[in-house]
């Protein structure tokens, strides 16, 4: 498989997943604000920060009002991290690899973008926003399921899985971060304790994890268990550890996989041995930061192995070493 094709399928998978999770993230925040006591106004700025868009946002807006942030994160095509931009990039990547996708795959992705472009900007008010976002999430999941059910499960599919799961792991950490960033904030005169349970519940619900949590943990919704579950529950498809396992599983089927497979293995081991349930909010936040860094290193090692050719081309420049390139290619 051509590296360019592999890379575009990978990014298509990432952007689709990113779109879905951006929608989730905004819904978590909306629900969270509803669950907070009257008078506690924590605002929307943290969402922009968590998406890594602080500077871009500041270029366009002076105030992090709900209206501004939501518009920026959902409908702004100038913001490369917005939901609409993610769908656009997913579509552009899909377009270039159309011949490797099932016919309906490209059509659904194209449709999703066109529909989102038409519907989202007019549906930003709270009432319609929630439904619109839920719809977008469902459409992304439909595409994921359709590709799983119709696409040839060859290397192309492996790259799709890698992209999707790396992005999903990253976004799950961001969603946890939204939650813990708020709890870290103390508000004078307000007792937050009674609201905690409801908030963890809404967090689970917003990533469709409540039922899974209940089935698996069979305990009341509590901070320690929720964190443990979202970071490390191998059976839950959106937990960070599960996603890394999926990435490793896909890499295992690819050629020349020693370096990225080792990187993925180390990341899983690192996560596995940390006792996240004992961390306080500040520690969780720092842990998420480190985890995101490691996820991006995993991406780098995949990209260097399969998408970039600095090393491969360099070998080609010297006749003597070419043999070793051929030997590597054969394993």
């Amino acid at each position: 498989m051509l590296s360019r094709v592999a890379e575009r399928i990978y990014w298509m998978g990432r952007y689709l997943e990113r779109a879905e999770n951006t929608a989730r993230l905004i819904n978590v925040n909306t629900l969270l604000l509803l669950d907070l006591p009257k008078g506690v106004s924590l605002g929307w700025q943290p969402l922009v920060d968590i998406m890594g868009s602080t500077e871009q946002f500041a270029e366009h807006f002076t105030e992090a009002s709900e209206r501004n942030v939501v518009r920026f994160l959902i409908a702004d095509e100038k913001n490369p991290a917005s939901l609409l931009s993610s769908l656009k990039f997913a579509r552009e990547n899909a377009r270039t690899v159309r011949d490797t996708l099932p016919g309906e795959g490209w059509e659904r992705i194209n449709d999703l973008f066109l529909k989102a472009k038409a519907d989202l900007p007019s549906g930003l008010a709270r009432g319609r926003r929630y439904d619109n976002l839920v719809e977008a999430i469902a459409a992304c999941q439909q595409i994921t399921g359709m590709l799983a059910g119709t696409m040839l499960h060859n290397e192309g599919y492996d790259f799709l899985r890698i992209g999707r799961n790396l992005e999903r792991a990253d976004m799950t950490t961001r969603i946890i971060d939204v939650r813990t960033a708020y709890v870290g904030t103390s508000v004078p005169g307000v007792e937050l304790e009674p609201f905690l349970h409801a908030q963890w519940l809404s967090l689970l619900r917003s990533i469709s994890a409540y039922q899974a949590y209940w089935l698996k943990v069979q305990a009341p919704v509590r901070r320690q268990e929720v964190l443990e579950f979202l970071f490390k529950e191998r059976q839950f498809p959106r937990s960070v550890l599960h996603c890394i396992g999926e990435v490793a599983g896909a890499i295992e089927r690819l050629p020349r996989n020693v370096v990225p497979l080792t990187t993925a293995g180390k990341l899983a081991a690192h996560l596995d041995k940390r006792r996240v349930s004992r961390m306080d909010d500040a520690a969780v936040h720092a842990f998420v930061d480190r985890l995101q860094l490691k996820l991006s290193q995993l991406h780098e090692s995949i990209a260097a192995t399969y998408f970039q050719f600095a090393t491969m081309d360099a070998r080609l420049r010297s006749g003597r070493k070419r043999k070793s390139a051929a030997a590597t290619a054969g394993n």
């Binding site: 498989m1 051509l2 590296s3 360019r4 592999a6 377009r95 270039t96 159309r98 011949d99 016919g103 290397e155 690819l254 050629p255 020349r256 399969y306 050719f309 491969m312 081309d313 080609l316 420049r317 010297s318 006749g319 070419r322 390139a325 051929a326 590597t328 290619a329």
Partner: protein, 484 residues
């Protein structure tokens, strides 16, 4: 109103299907009876079935002039096929083979001894001024001495029924995928007709193309690595590039997927590492092929590609420099070229042409601009031409100026009365002008497509058939009929 062939008038033109009102040509009899028996509703049904098939099969083309978001448009298609009797086609096929053989000998000669120039058959200045002659190709010996492996020649039929060659496309001719897809659409929509007719198949083209290309590989291997090199998804022919690659089971690559090593071999970048490429069916123009040799700013090409080609480590189809014979001025010399190399009379005639570079002919052209079609030597897709009779006085004057300034760049032809064929307009048939582009493959053996791509001008009275200018297409049937 359903189709009534007695009402069908193609006065003053040769019609491909109807000899005179109410009288179909022999080979078209069965088809006309079938279509004539359909009511409006049935006609509408067939037409929408064809549109649906085109949409679901994703047959698209690109119009450059349209803004973002509409680069894919459904392929305009007419459900009434164009029919040619097999006996007539076989003659045309022989003529095409003869022509392309001579053109390949001509190109090979130009890049070697240039006998034809020394003998004064083709004037040396024409080559010296040619925009598509490539100095860099001198002395190169491509496999089998063939340069233009894929040629798409445009044929038209005049009032009296004579078939003329209008031009030869030897650079990167496109359209063959539409020929193949048109047939698929027709089979889906009119299965009954196919049972009653013996229509020669077209679908072995991808296999023929693959054989032609893989025979160019110099490396001994069971299955040489053949790739299709495309400029990318925004190219107007991208649909075709992807289609042919898929049909041949070849990789569809962009320039950035390829790299030339110090060993002067071409490799593609795959997830397994570098993998050697033997044959490149390139669908990008010469000047973008290799920034080391041609345009330095080319992002589409591969640095070092010409080096690899010259050494014979990779085959390029069509070979760089083939375009020298696709110049519309060289076109006027093709009958002489055929006589010179093959010592035969041309089987297919050229359209009579006037070369502006020759003083007498130029004077004639300038004096008769209102009767002539003037074409630039190097454009394709119907761009930059003057259709004299349809042009305004001002446009003609502007063109006269262009001709005086750069006579080498222009040639002129009398306005042909292109033949017509019945085309479904609303729910009746009207004559529309058309041409035909067969494809000729040259390699170890020569192969001509069965028929070709029929392009039709959908606007009443128009003779512009290019899809980029509002043309459509029809399926082309070569049929075996008794009594021919």
């Amino acid at each position: 109103m359903a189709i009534d062939w007695r009402q069908y008038q193609a006065e003053g033109f040769f019609d491909e299907l109807i000899a005179s009102p109410g009288k179909p040509r022999h080979a078209a009899g069965e088809l006309c009876r079938f279509l004539g028996a359909l009511n409006d509703q049935e006609l509408a049904h067939y037409r929408s079935a064809a549109e649906l098939a085109i949409r679901t099969m994703g047959i698209t083309f690109t119009v450059y002039s349209e803004g973002d978001g509409s680069i894919d448009r459904a392929w305009p298609f007419d459900v009434v096929p164009r029919i040619i009797a097999r006996s007539e086609w076989e003659q045309i096929e022989r003529g095409l083979k003869q022509r392309v053989q001579a053109l390949n000998l001509f190109i090979d000669d130009l890049y070697h001894r240039q006998r034809i120039l020394k003998d004064g058959v083709v004037p040396r200045e024409l080559i010296a001024n040619s925009r598509d002659f490539r100095e860099q190709c001198m002395g190169i010996n491509p496999p089998h001495g063939i340069w233009a492996h894929i040629c798409g020649s445009d044929l038209v039929r005049d009032k009296d029924g004579t078939v003329y060659v209008l031009e030869d496309n030897l650079r990167v001719p496109s359209g063959v995928s539409y020929m193949l897809e048109n047939r698929q659409v027709m089979k889906r929509v009119f299965p009954d007709l196919f049972e009653n007719y013996s229509i020669l198949p077209v679908d072995d083209y991808p296999a023929q193309l693959f054989d032609c290309l893989s025979a160019l590989s110099r490396r001994r291997s069971k299955r040489p690595e053949v790739v299709v090199l495309t400029p990318g998804i925004y190219n107007s022919a991208y649909f075709e590039h992807a289609y042919l690659a898929q049909q041949m089971g070849a990789e569809l690559v962009e320039g950035s997927d390829l790299v030339v090593g110090d060993d002067d071999c071409v490799y593609m970048r795959t997830i397994e590492g570098l993998s050697r490429v033997d044959v490149i069916y390139r669908r990008i123009d010469d000047l973008f092929l290799d920034p080391e040799v041609f345009r330095e700013d080319s992002q589409l090409g591969v640095p070092g590609l010409m080096r690899a080609w010259r050494k014979g480590n990779v085959a390029l189809a069509n070979a760089p420099g083939s375009g020298v014979a696709d110049d519309k001025v060289i076109y006027t010399y093709v009958p002489k070229i055929i006589r010179y190399y093959l010592d035969q009379d041309p089987i297919l005639p050229n359209v009579p042409s006037y070369l502006c570079v020759n003083k007498d002919e130029r004077e004639y052209v300038l004096a008769n601009l209102d009767k002539l079609v003037v074409k630039p030597a190097n454009e394709s897709g119907g761009y930059g031409m003057l259709i004299g009779p349809a042009a305004s006085r001002k446009e003609r004057e502007a063109f006269a100026d262009l001709i005086r300034r750069q006579p080498r760049n222009y040639m002129a032809q009398p306005m042909l009365s292109l033949s017509t064929a019945p085309t479904l307009i609303d729910s009746h048939a009207e004559p529309r002008h058309l041409d035909l582009r067969p494809f000729i493959l040259s390699g170890k053996k020569t192969y001509v497509t069965t028929g070709g791509l029929t392009r039709v001008a959908l606007r009443k009275g128009s003779t512009v058939v290019n899809s980029s200018q509002g043309g459509g297409s029809k399926d082309t049937w070569i049929v075996d009929v008794e009594g021919n």
